[in-house]
Symmetry: C2
Subunit: 674 residues, 2 copies
């Protein structure tokens, strides 16, 4: 039983409880008990972030009994809030505007907690704790008094210390420049943005509740960005566009070569990617109906060369041995203006750390997103692009390398290859008896042997074959016996099927033929895929060998490639080591997810900075064992122990200038020195 002048209140889910004088606002009681309730406006009924669910009641031996008059009636402030923002959910109240009149049990919903969890879609990784580095605070500042000549800034800081316990704040000069007008326009009420609990970076007149951040993945082909509400963690807009640096070179190495041969080329590329980012930013802001000035933070991931260029660092050292990074630290607290970004001029930028010369901040983002470092399970992360970034490990140890797969997996250097786009063959099945194929194209639901396929495919036709289609067709060719374990097209099958045709001194398999186009898988195509998959597999084997394991528990395939391929075929072809198929899954844009996690959580930044320092970097270019694994992996699916005769049979990539492994370090370096 409560005393006549006091009320007992219990907060759930924390279980904290205490007695307070009748008339105490619920928010005040919560704070006195250290209950985690959010508020931007400081209890003024403006922000609506302090909502609670009221299970009002009376404590008796039977538990809590409903007793509706134990809380004050809906206040004018709450009604005014509802007029502006729409009705409160049933049973919800603004805790700042509700007084305790008697005993009560009060639930703080997850959405009202400061340090609430953002629930991620996948269940197997930890949720992100929402803890953005920029937070807004509304504060009422004392008017100036000639007899107490404290400056506007000092009175603002006094108010922030008193209301929000923010002490010893530093201040951006632009805040000082804008402060006096903001205070007077806001009638001595302003909203400030505080960076990392230590620095004032923004000020607006009156109450302002919106603050946004941008997470950017700078790919060599594509720029992708998410705009997030930093107070809810919600993605409010997403957009992508081509990286305009492509005009300086399709792949990374040709861009570095461009810079080597064109002084100032790095600055031109930096400008071009930043210009594109700014266009992307405006697009995101327009889509979400947000002013670009409300964007106060941006995070970046990218491979080492992309990350260097976006931050204005000349990447030429990454074009040749010893592949020295300028920095392997996170880029922390950079001003957006230092990158000429169009977001709030005091916005800050965070770049995830690069790990080594070939293992970039995108890999750090993938590690942060997939968190292999948290579990006992041995996890293999693979992100396939022109290079494959490979991470292997668990909470005890993490290894990483980059393997030069070349662009074959993306459909480049393949006779009928193309990027994944409408009209591209992406699924293939071959009847092992007739050797006849059926396939599906991107944008179509039907198999090619189903009625209506031609009509459905008519708008674009069958235009080529994309990366996942190539994996499938070669795996199916292997399963149907059209190629042997060494990848050789069996010319004697030409007698059984007209799909097998001579192509010079080798044979090809005709997958599609119509009036305008023939798509055939040639011996050269198969060799290109063998080289790519051997490089990938050799990198994985190298890490497994360094780790001292013959098996992995889980495989996560990141990026577009991982999202599109059928993992069964990847395993048939020997791209990845044996693993329970249920444990091989696509990770989506894990690098971008890592950027988003870093945007929403300060703790995550410190975590990935600490983790990348522990990552053991394995250099494929100088590891003799990589070459051995590479040779062994040319076979389908692969040979763990290379046979001497196989080594003689295939062209060893280490000694030819054209192999992807050799070209990276050797040839480019010579060109640089020439």
């Amino acid at each position: 039983m409560s005393d006549a002048d006091e009320a007992l209140v219990v907060f759930t889910p924390s279980g904290r409880r205490g007695r307070f004088p009748v008339g105490t606002p619920v928010l005040e009681a919560a704070r006195a008990l250290g209950v985690d309730i959010d508020s931007v406006c400081g209890g003024r009924g403006l922000c609506g972030r302090c909502q609670v669910d009221l299970c009002e009641g009376h404590f008796s031996k039977h538990g809590v009994e409903s007793w509706p008059d134990h809380l004050s009636a809906k206040s004018d402030t709450e009604q005014a809030w509802e007029t502006r923002r729409g009705p409160l959910r049933d049973g919800r109240r603004l805790s700042c505007s509700t007084q305790l009149l008697g005993d009560a049990v009060i639930d703080v919903p997850a959405s009202s907690q400061v340090h609430r969890q953002i629930v991620r879609k996948r269940a197997e990784v930890l949720d992100i704790e929402l803890d953005p580095i920029v937070r807004l605070y509304y504060v009422a500042v004392q008017e100036p008094d000639m007899h107490v000549p404290a400056s506007d800034l000092r009175r603002l800081k006094d108010a922030l210390a008193y209301e929000w316990h923010l002490a010893e704040l530093e201040t951006d000069i632009r805040v000082v420049q804008q402060l006096q007008q903001a205070l007077r326009q806001g009638h001595w009420g302003v909203t400030v943005a505080v960076y990392d609990d230590r620095r004032l970076i923004g000020v607006w007149p009156g109450f302002q509740s919106q603050v946004y951040g941008m997470a950017v993945d700078v790919g060599s082909t594509t720029l992708a960005a998410h705009l997030c509400n930093l107070q809810t963690g919600e993605v409010v807009a997403s957009a992508g566009r081509m990286n305009p640096q492509i005009r300086y070179g399709e792949d990374l190495m040709s861009r570095v070569s461009y810079i080597m041969m064109n002084p100032g080329g790095d600055q031109a590329m930096t400008r071009s990617v930043r210009d594109a980012l700014n266009e992307l930013t405006v697009e995101l802001a327009t889509e979400a109906d947000v002013h670009v000035d409300a964007i106060l933070e941006a995070t970046f991931v990218g491979n080492p060369i992309m990350q260097s260029l976006v931050f204005g660092i000349n990447p030429v050292e990454l074009g040749g041995a010893p592949f020295a990074l300028a920095t392997d630290e996170a880029i922390d607290g950079l001003w957006a203006t230092e990158m000429d970004l169009v977001i709030h001029p005091n916005a800050r930028v965070y770049g995830l750390p690069c790990i080594a010369g070939h293992v970039g901040a995108d890999t750090a983002g993938m590690i942060l997103s997939e968190t292999p470092y948290l579990g006992e399970e041995l996890m293999l992360l693979v992100d396939v692009g022109t290079n494959a970034e490979i991470v292997l490990g668990n909470r005890h140890r993490l290894l990483a390398c980059s393997s030069p797969t070349g662009p074959a997996f993306e459909g480049a250097q393949i006779s009928g290859g193309q990027r994944a786009a409408a009209g591209a063959i992406e699924r293939v099945r071959i009847d092992p008896l007739t050797l006849e194929p059926r396939y599906k194209v991107i944008g179509g639901e039907l198999w090619s042997n189903e009625p209506g396929f031609d009509e459905a495919a008519a708008p674009y036709g069958v235009t080529g074959i994309c990366g996942s289609g190539i994996i499938e067709v070669i795996a199916e060719m292997y399963l149907a016996g059209i190629i042997n374990q060494d990848g050789v097209v069996q010319g004697d099958l030409a007698t059984r099927s007209e799909r097998i045709v001579a192509d010079g001194r080798t044979f090809a398999y005709v997958l599609h033929r119509d009036a305008t186009r023939t798509i055939a898988i040639t011996q050269t195509d198969i060799r290109a895929i063998q080289l790519a998959k051997a490089a990938l597999y050799a990198g994985i084997r190298l890490l497994m060998e360094h780790f001292g394991t013959e098996r992995v528990d889980r495989i996560r395939l990141a990026g577009a490639f991982g999202a599109h391929i059928d993992v069964k075929y990847a395993m048939i072809l020997g791209l990845i080591p044996d693993c329970d198929l249920d444990h091989v899954t696509a990770a989506g844009n894990a690098a971008g997810t890592g950027a988003r996690i870093a945007l929403l959580s300060r703790r995550a930044r410190r975590e990935i900075e600490e983790v990348v320092r522990r990552v053991e970097k394995v250099e494929t270019a100088t590891e003799p064992r990589f070459q051995e694994h590479f040779v062994a992996a040319m076979a389908i699916p692969h040979r763990h122990d290379p046979f001497p005769q196989l080594r003689a049979e295939v062209t060893l990539p280490a000694v030819t200038a054209e192999s992807p492994a050799a070209s990276r370090g050797g040839r480019r370096r010579r060109r640089q020195r020439a």
Copy 2:
């Protein structure tokens, strides 16, 4: 006696001593003992900053006996240094390149100490400890190794931690951007600039020994700047120029009015003063033969309005009550680029704190320069401009105010007045019997009654009378009885001297007359000086009253006015309170000196920031006692206790729109609201 394999070394003046193995470099021994010896190159014989005087010797019961072979012979490194930089002074050695071979007494001269004292010219204040916020360090960095993939920045930091014990450094992005090229150009040796022992702000290939800073005094009329070598404290160039904001208004209040009436006017003034600063910077750098990129720090002082404008803060709030400053903190760690300065883009800027709406960073600079807060002596500091800034106090208590003297002391609003320039009368004597004057003009050595005066003055003629001349002529007129204690020109003297002439209903005193020009001191001129000196004296009395004292121990007169007036006349006229004349001295540009001290000493910055927080601000505009003191001080020299009849006699400034005290708060404010 020393052991055969060890040598005893004693360092003076520290007296630190220890035994070291024979062969130990002297610098190493010094560091092991914590002896303060400077070095930029880290013991490589490049910088020459570690020079010591060798009193080599042998310790016996007779003291130290000379024993020349107890130190290694002059090394190749030292000889190479001498070839580059000239011979070492007799007995001097580079301590990094000299080994202990036996017992030795070694003197570290002041110029080789890291925390050496800069001896200032005046003896009565403490010397400055040279402790600039930016320091250079040369360091050799390990070459990159593909098998240990630490980034260039990490290896640089490792080397800085190892060689210089600089740990946990943050890094400007421009350093990251320049690092790789600098390392390779410098063959893995670079010089870095470290800000406040915590952040890398510059990097250069190889050894670089020059780093400069700029101390700037932003006056409403004049910009003055000193370029200092931050390693020696030496001023290498000084220059000044007009503040181009004058085109927006001669005095502060007319500039603020301009801004009130012209939106964007503040930005135009900010641009104009920064442009002039940049021209001044180039002039200084050219004069000293220093590249502007070697300037890594700048400090600023100015009155509140000038300080606001140079930092891009709109000063309109300072144009009317309650005169709220945007900030009363120091502007700390601003990037030079945020002010569009042409010095090193990573240079940082420090602005001394303003104290109150009328008491600026220039006053803080004066306090830092004069250090009244250190002694028991009660010190009065006065800086006379359009306003007079007045500081009174000692180590126990400091008071400050600003008093609206108006521009009369600068020769403005005086019929024959002009700025201090060649041809202006600056010294005056009047014969009390004949009432005949004699005078000197700026640029001339002769009195006007001495033979050759006219010839000497011919190039410019006698053009007017400057501030110090006005003080003297009015004081001499008082001493000669031409004016009475109330400042009234005694018309009956016209019978005795034709110098006394009627001027409307009052009389004037003709000081100079030639073919082209008559310079007379009118009753209006005398009233203007009376108003100005009354405002000054009333401010001083107000502070004395708040302090509870009737006397001061020492008076320091800062600025051009203080430098030119004869303090005797200032006391006769009653500008300043009675004080032993020997204790009334000119302080020179004390504000500018304060900026220079802050440039050279980090400790001084913390000191002045702490001191200004303790200063008690007295607001003359709202203190009724100020008006009473003002009225009393109209008399010559002054009346401490105002007589009621005098109040009726003179026009009370508080109730007229034209008085300087009233115009500041009242009239401008009304205009702003209109």
